[in-house]
């Protein structure tokens, strides 16, 4: 109970660190550059978007297809910041280079391990750019969400957000009239390539923990109650518009953040990537993982990204174009046989709902069995 960061015990953060080290030094060096990006780093980014959408649709029940538009906004905003500033703020730190002994090289397939070879100035700039991209997406979503959520619900909200995604894409195509650096439809080049596995992983873990803490707080209860029954939630005194806007803004912030990571991953942005057809991808993933299920989202993103990119390699020569034929068939079969998604409502690990200690009501009111259970669960929580 004592030392906790963001509501998680030190053991949890140790496990996170361990996962990071294993993936960074044991798994990643065995992959080619392409697989490192599309199997490890990109799914982390996609998972952040999908977590945001899961908050909006899975937990709050607002059918939104606008996530992809906010992703594009975040990507372009942060790319513009780093594009201009990356040469000016540079503060390289000399790290250490460790020779890896031959015995260890069977686990870590590298001759030497470079630690802390980072540029503090550029890292700070990247962080600032990511936050700025997220903040811009959040501000736009606050304005858009407040106006639109006030009036529209269910399918019509979905249509309005789909329209938003198309509008963002059209604006990005025409953006070179105002901001020449984006180069409009030709695509933006010259973005520094700065997203490493560290950034994607760290932000994913932070996003996940923050989201978990929100979901299992009273705010989260209110957000879920809007999904379950809006009228009943209103009757219980919940400001439904406020919670709808809140989850929409937070979800869009996640999308903007992920956009910044994406921009600095491939160092190239093209408006055609932010087309409305792709905006179905996050929706497909969260339904695939199970609506309102964070573990499922995480798992589904990796399964989705790895299988979709992996099919390029696994399919026999000459059949690469069948990738997108197999994918919809799989989607169809999944929907026909498992509508609740991969995991349904089962959360795993630290994403499970915490067991709340029952409030002690005083001996007389409480039956002995309940009091014992309360004491027991309180002890487990300790």
């Amino acid at each position: 109970m004592k030392s906790r960061f963001l509501g998680q015990s030190w053991l949890f953060w140790l496990a996170v660190l361990l996962i990071f080290l294993v993936v960074q030094w044991v798994v990643m060096p065995r992959f080619t550059e392409f697989r490192r990006m599309s199997w490890v780093i990109f799914p982390c980014i996609m998972a952040i978007i999908c977590l945001g959408l899961n908050l909006i649709y899975g937990f709050n029940g607002q059918f939104s297809l606008g996530q992809w538009g906010f992703y594009g906004i975040g990507a372009y905003a942060s790319a513009l910041i780093t594009y201009h500033w990356t040469q000016r703020v540079t503060f390289p730190i000399e790290g250490v280079t460790l020779q890896i002994p031959a015995a260890l090289q069977r686990i870590v397939p590298l001759a030497e391990m470079q630690l802390f070879h980072i540029d503090a100035g550029r890292s700070a700039l990247l962080l600032f750019a990511l936050l700025a991209g997220g903040a811009l997406a959040a501000i736009i979503s606050l304005g858009f969400g407040y106006v639109v959520l006030l009036r529209l619900g269910s399918d019509y909200f979905g249509i309005a957000t789909l329209g938003f995604t198309v509008m963002v894409q059209v604006l990005l195509i025409n953006s070179d009239l105002v901001i020449p650096e984006t180069k409009g439809a030709r695509g933006m080049i010259g973005i520094p390539q700065m997203t490493s596995f560290f950034w994607a992983f760290a932000l994913l873990v932070l996003a996940l923990v923050v989201m978990r803490n929100i979901i299992y707080s009273s705010t989260g209860r209110a957000i879920i109650s809007v999904r379950e029954d809006e009228t009943a939630a209103q009757a219980m005194g919940i400001d439904t518009l406020r919670y709808k806007t809140m989850s929409f803004v937070l979800g869009s912030f996640y999308a903007g953040l992920a956009g910044g990571l994406y921009a600095h991953l491939y160092a190239f942005l093209s408006p055609s990537y932010f087309s409305f057809q792709r905006s179905f991808d996050p929706m497909i993933i969260i339904v695939f993982g199970g609506l309102g299920n964070m573990t499922g989202t995480l798992l589904a993103t990796f399964v989705w990204a790895i299988s979709l990119e992996g099919m390029r390699i696994w399919l026999p020569q000459g059949f690469e174009a069948w990738r997108f034929v197999i994918y919809p068939i799989a989607l169809l079969l999944l929907m026909l046989f498992r509508q609740q998604g991969l995991l349904g409502r089962v959360e795993l690990g630290f994403l499970r709902a915490p067991r709340w200690p029952l409030r002690k009501l005083g001996g007389a009111d409480m039956p002995p069995a309940v009091a014992a259970a309360a004491a027991g669960s309180a002890q487990v929580e300790e």
């Binding site: 019509y156 309005a160 329209g163 034929v325 919809p328 989607l331 169809l332």
Partner: protein
């Protein structure tokens, strides 16, 4: 119709500022018309032509949504299949215009029946998102499967020997073509047939009953599944026809052809009030008009932006579209 007018008048009384904005836009358009009336007339004619094609697709969206509450994203790709069918029928097999049209409609109807039976019917009791994801999946499947080399190939195909010879007439500077007249004539004919089908036949009555209340319709002895399948088939036949007319107007075919017209037609259906037949058609005409006018007068690259911002603004004022107020009057 009288009811509709009363509703519109009541709406205008409540939202007078919307009226002012509309008036300003009309004044601006009038100014543009005064400066170059011929160009303006040409834009209007083009807009009507485009609107009729969108209307044929939008009817399918609106009928399906009205009856099963499903945004059928695969509809735009059925439209593409219709275009290809007509293309192969007229260029490879040398069929005439009318037989090719019939074939396109038949193939699309058949395809829609298969899609409905395989992908949507098992999910009728499932949460709606499951059917929506399935619709997206079917749409992807149609796009990418037909893009394979041995199906339709992923490349652009020019529709070179058009089934009808293009003839243009110049009436006071405004160009009319026979294709445009055919588009309008065929669309109006289809609309009339559809209106007769929905409002004057027993099957149409069954369709309206199913849209109104499914369990009760079933209790009354209506075969609900059959009616739903029939609705899908009718919508798809109209989309196939629309596909054929669209590629005759814009003679370039590709397997991703259906995406943008499909989206625009869907938007038009929402604009007119999704679930309402006249709404879908009027919405399509308005969307077609907005598109050509904004392309002509404002910016061709910002065209979609203008269309969608108009859509969102209209939805904010009338959340169920222009004619979609009465939730019960669905066809």
């Amino acid at each position: 119709m009288q009811n509709l007018t009363q509703r519109m008048v009541a709406f205008m009384r409540r939202n007078w500022y919307a009226l002012i904005v509309a008036a300003l836009i009309l004044i601006w358009l009038y100014g543009r018309m005064r400066t170059n009336p011929v160009l303006f007339a040409q834009f209007v004619v083009d807009g009507i032509r485009l609107g009729f094609v969108y209307g044929l697709i939008a009817l399918g969206y609106t009928m399906v949504y009205g009856i099963v509450r499903l945004i059928n994203f695969a509809h735009g790709d059925v439209f593409m299949v219709g275009a290809y069918t007509a293309f192969y029928a007229t260029t490879r097999f040398r069929w005439g215009f009318i037989p090719a049209m019939g074939l396109a409609m038949g193939v699309c109807a058949f395809l829609a029946v298969i899609i409905e039976r395989v992908a949507y019917k098992p999910l009728r009791e499932a949460p709606r998102i499951a059917a929506l994801i399935t619709a997206i999946g079917v749409s992807f499947f149609l796009e990418y499967f037909t893009a394979l080399d041995f199906v339709f190939t992923p490349n652009f195909i020019n529709y070179t020997p058009l089934p009808i010879r293009f003839q243009t007439w110049d009436v006071g500077g405004v160009t009319f073509s026979n294709v445009m007249l055919i588009v309008i004539g065929v669309s109006l004919l289809c609309l009339a047939v559809l209106w007769y089908l929905v409002y004057r036949t027993k099957l149409g009555k069954a369709m309206r009953a199913v849209a109104w209340d499914k369990p009760t319709a079933r209790l009354m002895g209506i075969d609900v599944d059959l009616v739903i399948t029939f609705t899908f088939a009718v919508g798809a036949a109209l989309a196939g026809l629309g596909g054929m007319l669209y590629v005759i107007l814009y003679p370039q075919i590709r397997t991703f052809l259906g995406v943008m017209p499909g989206l625009k037609a869907f938007i038009a259906a929402v604009f007119g009030g999704i679930g309402s037949l006249p709404g879908a058609f009027i919405g399509s005409l308005i969307i077609g008009m907005i598109e050509t006018l904004s392309q002509g007068y404002l910016s061709s690259t910002l065209r979609d932006f203008i269309v969608f911002s108009v859509l969102i603004i209209v939805l904010l004022f009338k959340p169920t579209g222009l004619f979609g107020e009465s939730a019960k009057e669905k066809a």
